[in-house]
């Protein structure tokens, strides 16, 4: 049981798809200007990830290795088309604001990455679980970034006023910068820093120190 629990918790922080595996960043930054688009995107991605993992894992023994990428992409693209059509029918307004990013789930490296790394070698049950937990890890980052950007950019959360803005007679002057592209990069960079300060195991090794150490040992040898 502890093994299953570990598999569920790991992708949340320790193996987070965005901050550690560096997968699926494009959409994570683009849809986080408000919380409802971030949530819709997370839900869409998690569903595609689970369904894709299950499908690919179910037919993994029948996929020839040489054309596996094309097969995987076709399966994922079909699932994304379904999700896109469902969103257009159910939540047309949000789908409009997500623009092309729902379609771009096809090339989201997270889905192909998990299919290739996990679903191709594991049975259906664990693959479903892997899809769910990686989807949750991705959603966690999206929701964090999305709530920071919407709260400080507009003073609202889900469209409800939290910090009354000056324009509405309140005291909060909204930071319009939060709604522009650069702030997405900054917030994600700072988030990575925060996580690594909390979990120092994720810190990347110092390339320069490693290089000088090698140079030192070489010099000692000669």
């Amino acid at each position: 049981m502890s093994d299953t629990l570990k598999r569920l918790y790991d992708p949340l922080i320790d193996q987070n798809p965005i901050t550690v595996q560096i997968l699926g960043i494009c959409s994570a930054l683009a849809v986080t200007t408000s919380l409802d688009t971030a949530l819709t995107m997370s839900a869409a991605l998690t569903v595609v990830l689970m369904a894709g993992n299950v499908t690919i894992s179910a037919i993994r023994r029948h996929i020839p290795t040489s054309i596996r990428l094309i097969v995987q992409i076709t399966i994922i693209a079909s699932l994304v088309i379904v999700i896109d059509q469902v969103l257009q029918a159910v939540a047309f307004d949000i789908n409009r604001r997500l623009s092309i990013f729902v379609s771009l789930i096809v090339t989201n490296c997270l889905i192909l990455g998990r299919a290739e790394a996990f679903a191709m070698h594991n049975p259906v049950g664990p693959s479903l679980f892997d899809g769910l937990s990686n989807g949750l890890g991705y959603s966690l980052i999206l929701i964090l970034v999305g709530s920071v950007r919407e709260l400080f950019g507009t003073g609202e959360l889900f469209g409800h006023v939290v910090l009354p803005t000056v324009a509405q007679g309140g005291w909060y002057a909204p930071l319009n910068f939060m709604l522009l592209a650069p702030s997405g990069f900054f917030i994600l960079g700072l988030l990575v820093w925060a996580i690594r300060a909390w979990r120092p195991r994720q810190v990347e090794k110092n390339e320069f120190a490693a290089a000088t150490a090698i140079a030192e040992t070489n010099r000692g040898r000669t």
Binding site: T19, I22, L23, G24, I25, C26, S27, L29, A30, L69, I70, I73, T74, A77, S78, V80, I81, D84, Q85, S99, I100, S103, L104, V106, T107, N108, C109, L112, L180, A181, P182, S183, G184, F185, F186, L188, G189, L190, V192, W193, A194, I195, R196, A197, P200, V203, E204, N206, E207, F208, A211
Partner: protein, 200 residues
């Protein structure tokens, strides 16, 4: 036309204002020479696939495209995803074989990056933007070329900065991914300023 070209390089830069292709952007930007190889590959593929996808979309998939067969009600535009990704994967293959046969030197330089390009969101995103913004054929060529150059420019700049950063003393937690994000944010800020320029 010039306006569209410059906009797609600077103000509407695919990475820095639309976040397309950030995964490859961060993964392959540790060294300048690999960044140049990937950048060139992206320019090639963008310039070929965007106009090609535009032709396929407007001739086969858009609503009413089959009217000449007496089927005016058929709307295949929901198939655009599969069609585009197929075209991109096929073009990458064709380009790889072509380079291998006729320009072996160039193939050795950029060949290994071509497969990476297939799963690069910037390529598919470029095609989807072309549909969403309803560019014509000549506009799509300009947009493809400009978008590719913008992407290549951004990755080369980041790679050059990151190579220098190896000698900088950065706080432990920021090293690697964290600082790359912050640099990209600063680059993105400077690129948005180009949005105020207009060339006609």
């Amino acid at each position: 036309m010039i306006d569209l070209f410059l906009r797609s390089i600077f103000a509407d830069n695919l990475i820095l204002s639309f976040f397309l292709g950030v995964c490859t952007f961060l993964a392959v930007s540790r060294r300048v020479d690999t960044a140049v190889g990937l950048g060139v590959a992206v320019i090639f593929i963008q310039t070929i696939t965007i106009p090609l996808n535009g032709l396929i979309y407007s001739n086969f998939l858009i609503e009413g495209a089959w009217a000449w067969l007496g089927l005016p009600d058929i709307d295949l535009s929901y198939l655009k995803l599969i069609a585009f990704i197929g075209v991109i994967a096929a073009m990458v293959q064709v380009l790889e074989m072509f380079l291998d046969r006729y320009m072996p030197a160039l193939h050795r330089a950029v060949g290994i990056y071509l497969p990476l390009v297939t799963v690069n969101c910037a390529i598919l995103g470029g095609s989807l933007f072309m549909v969403e913004r309803q560019y014509g054929f000549s506009e799509s060529i300009i947009f493809g070329l400009g978008g590719g150059i913008g992407w290549a420019l951004a990755i080369m700049a980041l790679a050059a900065i990151r190579q220098r950063l190896a000698y900088a003393d950065i706080p432990d937690g920021l090293r690697g991914l964290g600082i790359a994000f912050i640099i990209t944010g600063l680059m993105s800020m400077s690129f948005t300023v180009f949005g105020t320029l207009h060339f006609r």
